[in-house]
Each structure stands twice: as structure tokens, then as C-alpha cells.
């Protein structure tokens, strides 16, 4: 097994699925000769041709809408949004159409589209190239939302998403693309959409995270271990439908819950996890359910001091862990 980068895992999944199934096709802005602005689709157009690797006009609503039509007529499209920030023009197509096609047709039409979107803040990505969009979409019944946290999962879950008979929003935290590496088998495998996973067992408190925040949380947990606090870190991975059982089991064990997410706090994804724990694990809790999330401002500002003010680092996570453990 090779150690590869997150972005390479994504790219591999594309290559393998397109090679083994002629129904798979990619569409999006700059996915062709440029190989995508992050390189996720590198090498595809050379191998599979312009008909299956479509450089689309700059128009996200039709990227989604055309993909939906393709999916209804026998193809398995992967629609790339260049940045998650630019998925918003396609909101109506994804929410009203893709997510509802099966339900509204009483099961007779399916919509197996994968919507890929690089999300989250990296250095200097500012207000419009750094958004976390998972809360908008995880709220939408009929849509699956995943945010894998390792290269292994990225490849395995992208393959699972492509083969899934229903629409999947596939979120890739762009900060991970080049700096997160991991072992990834060369050949075929899938990682099922659904189950969360305990990445690090611990007895003192449960920490729930996904994407880049999972990496930072694991780092913070290591630091805390040196202080004698054993944090159980749970990788949510699939944001919808949510694996509540794994969450409740962990809280039952540690009696404390911290949810970490990068999006602004108010009605961000972690609100649902907190609400579930407050309802279904209430009698297990020894302390308030705590959330550490981005401030409630419209986005991550550009200037370094502002960006740092916004961003959730392992240091801030460690501080929250200390506070929660102290109850």
C-alpha cells in the first residue's frame, strides 16, 4: 500500500471508476485539460475523452441540473463544483430536484449523482473560497452528505458514492488535499456511506468531528493525553444519514460530549449532534454538551490576524477539552 495524499486518493477513485464503468462521467468547470483547480480530475480527459470529461460553461445550476437529467437516463455523473462556495447557484437544483426525485416519483425515478465540492478554510481563502456548506445540505432529506477525513476513506467513500443509487454530496476539506497523507490500496474497495468510526478510543470525553477538524482534533487529543485526559475521537464521516448509535455509545462511555466544527456555530452541523445527545443520552451526561465552532460572522476573513481569529486550531480544541473535562 502506498502513502498518498488526500487529493491523489480522490483522483484515483475517479480513474478507477471511470475505467470500470462506462456510465461514469465527470462534468464541471476546468475539469478537463486543467484537471480541476485542485487537480482532482487530472489525467481524466486524456484517458476518457471530452464526452465523458466535460468542461462546462460557468453555470452551476445547470451543472447540477444537467447531471440530474443524465442520471435519470442511465449515466452516473460526478458533478464538480470548483469551490463549495460556488455550489449556491445550484441550491434549487440539488434541494428541489436531486434530493426529491425519488420521493416525489414514489420510488420510480432515482438520481444517482455525486456532487463534489471542496469546502472549508485554508490559508488565505477568505470569505468566498472557504465556506463550510454541510449544514445547508445535511438538513435536506433525500440527500446523502459525506465528508471523509482520511485518504483511505476519501477513495473508498467516493467509490461508494458513485455506485450509490441516490444523490450524494461529497465534501472534501481543501486544506487536506496536499497535507494529509495516508495508506491507500491501489485496487478496488469501498467504504460504506453511513457508519461513523472511533478514531481514537478514550474514557474521559467524546469528541465528534469530521474533515479537517478531525485531523486537528486528533492532534489536540494527543496533546491532552500528555496532560492525562483521554479523549475518544469519533469521525462522523457520513453527515447524513447520521450514525446516531455510534455517537450515543461513545457518550454512554465517557459521559461528556464535545462537538467540533469549522462552520459558524449557529445552526451549524454540530447543533444536530448536540440536540440528539441532549435528547437521547441525557441521563448519560455529566456535563453540558459543548460545541466548539466558528464564530457567527459571514465567513473567514482574509487578513491573517482575522483569519486566525476565526479559525479553529488544535490549541482552541485543547482549551475546550480542558474546560469540558474539568466539569
Amino acid at each position: 500500500m502506498a502513502e498518498i495524499r488526500y487529493i491523489d486518493a480522490i483522483n484515483q477513485a475517479h480513474h478507477e471508476e471511470m475505467a470500470q464503468d462506462a456510465r461514469v462521467l465527470v462534468l464541471g468547470e476546468d475539469v478537463g485539460r486543467k484537471g480541476g483547480v485542485f487537480g482532482a480530475t487530472m489525467g481524466l480527459v486524456e484517458k476518457f475523452g471530452e464526452d465523458r470529461v466535460i468542461d462546462t460553461p460557468l453555470a452551476e445550476s445547470s451543472i447540477a441540473g444537467v447531471a440530474i437529467g443524465m442520471a435519470c437516463n442511465g449515466l452516473l455523473p460526478i458533478a464538480e463544483f470548483q469551490f463549495a462556495d460556488f455550489i449556491h447557484p445550484a441550491f434549487n437544483q440539488i434541494v428541489s430536484e436531486a434530493a426529491r426525485m425519488r420521493y416525489r416519483s414514489n420510488g420510480v425515478y432515482g438520481c444517482p449523482v455525486v456532487f463534489r465540492a471542496p469546502y472549508g478554510g485554508s490559508h488565505g481563502t477568505a470569505l468566498y473560497h472557504s465556506q463550510s456548506i454541510e449544514a445547508f445540505y445535511a438538513h435536506v432529506p433525500g440527500l446523502k452528505v459525506v465528508a471523509p477525513s482520511t485518504p483511505y476513506d476519501a477513495k473508498g467513500m467516493l467509490k461508494a458514492a458513485i455506485r450509490d443509487p441516490d444523490p450524494v454530496l461529497f465534501l472534501e476539506h481543501k486544506r487536506m488535499y496536499r497535507i494529509v497523507r495516508g495508506e491507500v490500496p491501489d485496487g478496488d474497495y469501498t467504504v460504506p456511506i453511513g457508519p461513523a468510526v472511533v478514531r481514537r478510543p478514550g474514557r474521559d470525553l467524546s469528541l465528534f468531528a469530521y474533515g479537517w477538524m478531525l485531523s486537528e482534533s486528533l492532534a489536540a487529543a494527543e496533546e491532552m493525553a500528555r496532560e492525562g485526559i483521554e479523549v475518544e475521537v469519533v469521525d462522523i464521516r457520513t453527515l447524513a444519514p447520521l450514525d446516531t448509535a455510534t455517537i450515543l455509545k461513545s457518550v454512554a462511555k465517557t459521559n461528556r460530549a464535545l462537538i467540533v466544527y469549522e462552520d459558524n456555530q449557529f445552526l451549524g452541523y454540530g447543533a444536530e449532534i448536540a440536540a440528539r445527545i441532549a435528547e437521547e443520552a441525557f441521563f448519560d451526561l455529566d456535563a453540558p454538551v459543548m460545541r466548539l465552532a466558528g464564530p457567527d460572522v459571514p465567513g473567514i476573513p482574509f487578513a491573517k490576524p482575522l483569519e486566525e481569529w476565526f479559525s479553529i486550531s488544535r490549541g482552541k480544541i485543547a482549551a475546550s477539552i480542558r474546560k469540558l473535562a474539568a466539569y
Partner: protein, 339 residues
């Protein structure tokens, strides 16, 4: 009072277009059937048997004509809420439609989940439709792209009102279709109203068809009261698509004979004169007049057709009415694929 000469000329019209007498009689039947069904739906709504109706009186002629060249089995249709006549031609039965009106479990469009008028039928390759105006256009283009890539030979037809052409999705869909020469007929049924908003507040051009040039595709306009002309332009567009020459924008100018839907009162925003004017453009009447002129219909055959339609609709109404409502907790099903 038609002279022998005029008679020949008009007769020549449908035959010159390659339509048999049988064809035009069937076309008339569908127009009349759609109108009959339409009237029935409104009656049922007023009688409290249906909560809501939205339908296409005035639009039937162009719909039947546009559907006529299509291969009913192989081709795709992406309808909108006025597509009653088109869906009937494509294969849906009156019973199918009334099952939707009554929100029955066996409604093939949605099992009673959607409001009436949201057609869909997998067997006839009619895509499931939603309410947000305009979204279906990119879907149709995507379907057509898939047909081309998979070399299935399928042609796709999609319909919308002129109001829907204001939506961004409409623009994006036309652009994509033109770039990739997708085999798709892009139909706009222009009745000069988006609910109450008149054409001049919707666009600064007198016709939607002129927009086609901006995408690099042909755009044609036909009078929706001239059923044969509607057929002619559709057939031409169909043949173009078949030849791999890409999409055509077709605008049909049609009268909206009734209110927007059963929730609307058109008297609030349409004058008596306007309503009188549009009634003259009723394709049912104009096409009937043509068929009488060419001697294919007369009082007695018309009565037979009307009778047959009435009977069929009666039977269908009973059948649909007897069908069961969906069970409450089936509402949780089909969120995702079920093995």
C-alpha cells in the same frame, strides 16, 4: 360554403405534411379528449372531489402536434403542469391522470404525493416533474446528452411556459444544449401570461423564439391555433435532432382559456374583451373547423367522438375514484432506493 378549390388546398395541407387522414383524426381525438378531461377535472374540483386543478385549455393543439412526430416508446418527454394533452399522447391514460387528481396510491406520477398536474411516468419515459418553474429544462438537456453519449437514438422533448424562460435555468439549459448539440426539442408554450403578469412585463421582445439565435440554434414560432403548422415545425425540429444537428427552440403562441389554476381568478387581471379574444383562438375549434372543411368530420362523427370521450372519462372517473388512498406510513418510503 367552401369552394371545391379551397377544399383541395386545405386538404393538401395535412397530406402535404405526410399526415394521413387517420393521423389528423387521432390528433383531433386527443385534443378533444384532453379538453374533456380538463373540463371534468374542473367540475370535480368545484364539486369538492379534488382539491386543486391546473391544466392546459388552449394549449392542447400544439401539445398534440408537437408530440406527434415523437416515438412514443423510445423518446423522452419532460412535461410541465399544462402538459395534459401531451402526456395523453405519450401514453398516459385518463385514469392515470385522475388517479393523480384524486391523490390515489396507484397514481403513477407520484402515488398521491404531489399536487395534481405534476406528471411523470417511467413506462412512457415521462420524467417526474416538480413545481419550481424552469428546473426541468436542464434535466431534459441532461437526458438528451445521455442519449447522445449512449447512442440510444432517443429524442427528448421538454415544455415550459413563456414565464419560465425568464429563469436562469432556462438560459443555462439552452446554452448547454447548443454547445453539445443535444437531441432535444425545447418547447415554449407562450400564452402571454405568467399567472397575471403580461408578456410586456416579462420580456422586452415580442417573441421568445428570437432568443434562439443568441445560443446558436434555430428558433421558430408557430400559431398554437394552427395545429398543422405546429406539427410542421415540430417535425422539422425532430428530424434535425435525429440528424444530429442539435436542439431547436420552438415557440407556440397559445391562448390561455381559463384561470391559471383553480386557486386563481383571472377576472382580477384580464378584461372581458381579452377573454373574448382568446376564445377565438381555441385550437379545438380551429382544428375542428379544418377537419370539417376537409370533410373528415361532420356533426354526426363529432357527436360520436364526444360520446366516446364522455364515456371513457366517466369510466375512468369511477375507476380512479374507487382506487384506495395511500396508507399513512407509506409516507416514509422511497426516501432512498429500496432493494
Amino acid at each position: 360554403m367552401v369552394s371545391a378549390e379551397a377544399n383541395t388546398t386545405v386538404e393538401a395541407r395535412h397530406r402535404a405534411l405526410g399526415l394521413s387522414d387517420q393521423d389528423v383524426l387521432e390528433m383531433y381525438y386527443y385534443i378533444a379528449l384532453a379538453r374533456g378531461l380538463d373540463d371534468r377535472m374542473w367540475v370535480l374540483q368545484r364539486a369538492g372531489k379534488a382539491m386543486f386543478v391546473i391544466s392546459g385549455p388552449g394549449h392542447e393543439g400544439c401539445q398534440v402536434a408537437a408530440m406527434w412526430p415523437m416515438d412514443k416508446k423510445q423518446d423522452w418527454f419532460v412535461p410541465f403542469y399544462r402538459s395534459v394533452a401531451a402526456c395523453l399522447v405519450k401514453g398516459m391514460t385518463v385514469t392515470d391522470m385522475l388517479l393523480g387528481l384524486f391523490a390515489r396510491a396507484t397514481d403513477p406520477s407520484s402515488g398521491g404525493r404531489q399536487m395534481p398536474g405534476h406528471y411523470g411516468h417511467p413506462r412512457f419515459k415521462i420524467l417526474s416533474t416538480s413545481s419550481p418553474v424552469g428546473t426541468q429544462y436542464p434535466h431534459a438537456v441532461g437526458i438528451a446528452y445521455a442519449s447522445k453519449l449512449r447512442r440510444t437514438g432517443e429524442i427528448t422533448m421538454v415544455s415550459i411556459g413563456e414565464g419560465g424562460t425568464s429563469q436562469g435555468d432556462w438560459h443555462e439549459a439552452l446554452n448547454f444544449a447548443a454547445i453539445h448539440k443535444c437531441p432535444v426539442l425545447l418547447i415554449v408554450e407562450n400564452n402571454e401570461l405568467a399567472i397575471s403578469v403580461p408578456l410586456r412585463k416579462q420580456m422586452a421582445v415580442p417573441s421568445v423564439a428570437v432568443r434562439a439565435a443568441g445560443y446558436g440554434m434555430p428558433g421558430v414560432t408557430a400559431d398554437g391555433s394552427d395545429v398543422l403548422e405546429c406539427y410542421r415545425v415540430a417535425k422539422e425540429a425532430y428530424d434535425r435532432a435525429r440528424r444530429g444537428e442539435g436542439p431547436t427552440l420552438i415557440e407556440y403562441r397559445v391562448p390561455r382559456l381559463g384561470s391559471h389554476s383553480s386557486d386563481d381568478q383571472q377576472e382580477r387581471y384580464r378584461s372581458r374583451e381579452e377573454l373574448e379574444q382568446v376564445r377565438k383562438r381555441d385550437p379545438l375549434l380551429t382544428f375542428r373547423a379544418y377537419l370539417e372543411r376537409v370533410g373528415l368530420l361532420n356533426e354526426s362523427t363529432l357527436k360520436d367522438i364526444a360520446e366516446r370521450i364522455r364515456r371513457d372519462i366517466d369510466t375512468a372517473t369511477d375507476e380512479a375514484d374507487r382506487a384506495p388512498l395511500p396508507q399513512p406510513d407509506t409516507a416514509r418510503r422511497h426516501l432512498f432506493f429500496e432493494e
